[in-house]
């Protein structure tokens, strides 16, 4: 899997051969993620797309160590964070990697004021010396995400959906992380609000140079925000490359079907369009037999040699 290493910059996050299994019973194990490798450079946005059940959320949760990975290695900022971590490594991880969740109502404590929700991270890690400093940090961050300082004393239910997601972003940002894992963070929002949140995330990235792992199923939004994209299906990373490479030369039939299924808001084209059909069972492709093949540049496809000859 060395070929998947980036050659120019030292990557911020590197995932090598990650597997995540969930034993359900003695006989049955759900293999949610199988042999996934990718990297994220500092200041870059990596989009993970796939249908529900493809394992994209599991990857995000395994990276931030909400799960214990079954196999494989995860390097974050030069440290191995896949196995047992010492206290120092764990502290670094908990500070420098943050997560934004899908449903802003479900992930904010309804009985805490927004100020306390946002400050929880700096409370735990003792990042301030006085209460005055704490409230300054909170109002700074509120300002940054486009909320007003007086919002600090309100409760989550007093906000609209878009504002709540801003609180979720503020909570992640206050730690000044190097990587934010955004798990479907805009899918629960309305379209006009989605654009606001995505623009905000881009602005923050330009200002602070953090990296995003952007997990979503909406390809048009992923295309818009990501520098590079990984396509997942049934736990396998099938294709990865820059946004340009994936969208203009999709190689894997699954990627092709995914891209052909993006609704085009142009009625004259859309009415005549039929999505390319793809069925893993009848396609004759065996994901487990394939390995990553380089197409060009940073564009890799998971397949066997024979399959590759048929596709390119």
């Amino acid at each position: 899997m060395n070929q998947l290493q980036s050659n120019s910059v030292f990557p911020l996050l590197e995932v090598k051969g990650l597997r995540q299994y969930f034993p359900i019973s003695r006989r049955y194990t759900v293999k949610a993620v199988e042999d996934v490798s990718f990297y994220i450079n500092p200041g870059e946005t990596y989009g993970l797309v796939g249908e529900s059940g493809s394992g994209k959320t599991t990857i995000g949760r395994a990276i931030i160590r909400l799960y214990n990975p079954t196999a494989g290695q995860i390097f974050f900022d030069g440290r191995d964070i896949s196995g047992h971590m010492n206290r120092e490594t764990e502290r670094e991880l908990r500070i420098n990697m943050q997560m934004i969740f899908q449903d802003p109502m479900a992930c904010l404590n309804p009985r805490q004021k927004v100020a306390d929700i946002i400050a929880q991270g700096i409370d735990i890690h003792h990042r301030y010396h006085s209460l005055k400093e704490r409230s300054e940090m909170v109002s700074d961050i509120l300002h940054k995400v486009g909320l007003a300082p007086e919002h600090a004393d309100r409760y989550p239910h007093q906000f609209s959906g878009g504002q709540r997601q801003r609180v979720g972003i503020a909570r992640a940002l206050i730690m000044n992380p190097k990587l934010i894992i955004a798990d479907e963070c805009i899918s629960a929002l309305d379209m006009s609000i989605q654009a606001q949140v995505v623009n905000l995330m881009k602005d923050i990235q330009q200002e602070t140079g953090l990296a995003y792992l952007f997990i979503a199923h909406d390809l048009s939004m992923v295309k818009y925000i990501s520098d590079r994209i990984g396509v997942l299906h049934l736990g396998y990373l099938l294709e990865t490359g820059t946004t340009e490479e994936i969208f203009s030369h999709p190689v894997h039939p699954y990627t092709q079907s995914l891209i052909s299924a993006i609704p085009n808001p142009n009625p004259l084209l859309e009415r005549n369009r039929t999505a390319k059909k793809y069925d893993y069972k009848t396609s004759g492709i065996d994901y487990s037999a394939g390995s990553m093949h380089l197409i060009e540049g940073t564009h890799y496809v998971r397949c066997t040699d024979a399959e590759l000859d048929g596709w390119v």
Binding site: G161, M191, A195, Y224, N266
Partner: protein, 364 residues
């Protein structure tokens, strides 16, 4: 084109909800009509009142909701010769249950997991409506359920009949819900965000499925959605809703290629465009108004950079643009200043028309 036959007419519908915080005027004077065999889309953000309007048509408003005024007229064929026209708002709840719900108007909800009963096998859930509405004998209902499952593209129908909802994938579940909705041969199908909970690949398959069935059965469909891609794919006519009112309505081509309301401009601009590499997405500033407060003037005015003085005082009426196209904005008043489409949107529409072969089809 055959003669248009209206099967559903909604006139000046007003709905409000009593909440602990006060009265929410969720729907403020909605007009809507659906013809036989036609697909009508209602587009809007959450809270714009699109689902509430649909629920009023089905007579399934929440308990704290009241209909303050308006008319919902629905007509159907009891037998091929006998056409019946009914006022849904004058009917008793039991009557609607008996004669309309599920039988004449069926609804597909957003989340297939919550609209299916987890304790009953799916086959039985498809048969339920037929047995209840038409007293269909069990054997016949079973045969018909099998037929429906094949119609919605479920393989191994016989085996799947006995499955419980949790044993099926999301796309399969939504197919079952559609099969249930079609079981009693309704004349109108209301799809409330039918594909929002599904992935893009399955989404297009479900939409194509509904289109196919629609052609076979002369079914009218109302789509409630916030996804303009879905609208572009399926709809004949589009109604754009904002803060409980329809602000623009027209054919798909009217709304996508010649939008007139600034809110529609915003919606169209805010979509990520696969054709260009813009650095920033357009956003509509601000957020939708709180309908707890009484709205004076145009509800969209605070977010509208083209707002006129009159917008803060008087609510704009619907201005007719063509036979099929109308919009509620003062910008269309003969004495209003001339406002052009935002430049990026104009370019984008121009490009969409070119790519779609709009001019060629217009020339024919």
């Amino acid at each position: 084109m055959e003669r248009k036959e209206e099967i559903l007419t909604v006139r000046n519908l007003n709905i409000s909800f009593e909440t602990t915080a006060g009265t929410v005027r969720a729907v403020r004077g909605v007009n809507l009509s659906v013809n036989r065999g036609e697909t009508v889309a209602i587009v809007g953000e959450s809270g714009s009142g699109k689902s509430v309007s649909a629920k009023a048509i089905m007579g399934i408003l929440a308990k704290n909701g009241t209909i303050d005024g308006g008319k919902i007229t629905f007509s159907y064929y009891r037998s091929p010769e006998e056409r019946v026209t009914r006022e849904i708002l004058d009917m008793k709840k039991e009557e609607i249950r008996r004669h309309i719900n599920g039988k004449r108007i069926a609804m597909v909800f957003q989340d297939p997991m919550t609209s299916l009963n987890p304790l009953i096998p799916v086959g039985k859930q498809i048969m339920e409506g037929m047995i209840w509405h038409y007293n269909t004998p069990k054997e016949e209902a079973k045969a018909r359920a099998l037929e429906l499952m094949k119609l919605v593209g479920i393989t191994d129908a016989e085996k799947r009949m006995k499955n419980y909802p949790h044993q099926l994938s999301g796309g399969m579940r939504q197919r079952i819900v559609i099969a249930i909705a079609l079981a009693c041969d309704p004349e109108l199908l209301i799809c409330d965000e039918p594909t929002t909970a599904l992935d893009v690949t399955i989404q297009s398959r479900i939409l194509e499925l509904i289109q196919e069935i629609q052609k076979k059965r002369q079914l009218s469909v109302i789509y409630i959605t916030h996804d303009l891609g879905v609208v572009a794919k399926v709809a004949d006519r589009v109604n754009v809703m904002y803060a409980g009112k329809i602000v623009e309505s027209g054919t798909v081509n009217d709304v996508f290629y010649d939008p007139r309301h600034p809110y529609t401009w915003g919606l169209l601009s805010a979509m990520p465009d696969l054709g260009t590499d813009d650095e920033r997405l357009y956003t509509i500033p601000g957020s939708p108004p709180n309908l707890l407060h009484r709205i004076t003037g145009d509800a969209f005015a605070p977010r509208n950079k083209y707002a006129l003085n009159i917008d803060s005082r008087l609510e704009p009426p619907m201005f007719r643009i063509s036979d099929t196209h109308e919009a509620a904005t003062w910008l269309l008043h003969p004495r209003a200043p001339k406002v052009e489409l935002p430049e990026e949107l104009r370019d984008r529409i121009e490009r969409m028309k070119r790519e779609g072969g709009y001019y060629e089809s217009a020339a024919e």
